[in-house]
């Protein structure tokens, strides 16, 4: 189970790296993955699953901040400087908001676990739901960037929200599948 969590964590981090600018990813992606996987092993040896959970919390915040920084630096380094864009969807800092929102949502079960024994989330649950929220949020942003009309974006947003709720429910209690078992 623990080896599976480590393997899964590296896979999720590898996926997260795809959101960095291509040139940055090509230059540092492999090294970043190596550093993350070594940190995972270290965190697990020192503090077990709790260590992995703490590392993931720090990594999500770190990735949120550095994603925005690298995209901004990438834009500045481009041949054409762009005027400031008022559309939040087009700004890379939206990824920080998605990461923060993900963290805040995950705080709910974390706090609930301290208060009630009916909540029994394992580290893997936090990782999967965190990845689901951050991944779907980021996918929505990348999709919405290709759509200019606001009403269409709202429809896409609702579709993504329903997809998140459905997947969450499916993982929690299993509606049509036994993924959550």
């Amino acid at each position: 189970m623990n080896k599976a969590v480590i393997r899964q964590s590296v896979r999720i981090y590898d996926f997260l790296l795809k959101f960095y600018p291509k040139s940055y990813r090509q230059k540092f992606g492999e090294e970043m993955k190596y550093v993350f996987s070594e940190s995972l092993k270290d965190a697990y040896i020192k503090n077990g699953e709790q260590g992995i959970f703490t590392l993931w919390t720090r990594t999500i915040i770190d990735a949120g901040k550095s994603l925005v920084t690298q995209h901004l630096e990438n834009q500045k380094g481009g041949a054409h400087m762009k005027t400031k864009n008022a559309d939040i969807i087009m700004q890379n800092k939206i990824f920080i908001w998605i990461a923060l929102a993900t963290g805040l949502i995950l705080l709910i079960p974390l706090i609930a676990m301290q208060l009630s024994s009916e909540w029994d989330w394992k580290l893997g649950d936090f990782v999967v739901i965190g990845a689901l929220l951050f991944g779907m949020g980021s996918m929505f942003v990348l999709t919405a960037r290709k759509i200019r009309k606001k009403s269409h974006r709202v429809v896409i947003g609702i579709t993504f929200a329903i997809a998140i709720l459905y997947l969450w429910a499916e993982l929690a209690v299993g509606i049509f599948t036994n993924w959550g078992s």
Partner: protein, 111 residues
């Protein structure tokens, strides 16, 4: 010419002052040198490395594994680190002369 260093960059340069290191080693050394006050994630670490490579404060050197590239201080990096340390030292000396450590209640340095 000296380059303004962020806190992460300062600690990274400090970790490279003794010897060349690869990314994970730099991260662990920074954690140790800062007494866990500066915890670098891979994003912040390589963002800083990228900026310092561009400013020519550090350079990449051949390593044993493509996933473990080694980084080394350049002469510019050594000068920047030295100026930054001098600046900190001057500030500490000034604070001592004015007895600020005691007045501000910085116990760790006061005794």
């Amino acid at each position: 010419m000296t380059v303004h260093l962020s806190q992460s960059e300062f600690y990274i340069l400090l970790s490279l002052a003794i010897k060349s290191r690869h990314g994970y080693e730099i991260m662990k050394q920074v954690e140790q040198d800062s007494e866990r006050k500066v915890l670098l994630g891979p994003g912040t670490l390589y963002g800083s490395i990228k900026r310092m490579l561009q400013s020519k404060l550090i350079k990449e050197i051949a390593g044993d594994n493509p996933r473990r590239k080694y980084y080394k201080l350049t002469e510019e990096g050594r000068q920047s680190l030295s100026s930054e340390l001098q600046r900190y030292n001057d500030a500490v000396e000034l604070a001592k002369r004015k007895d600020l450590f005691k007045n501000l209640g910085v116990i760790k340095f006061a005794f």
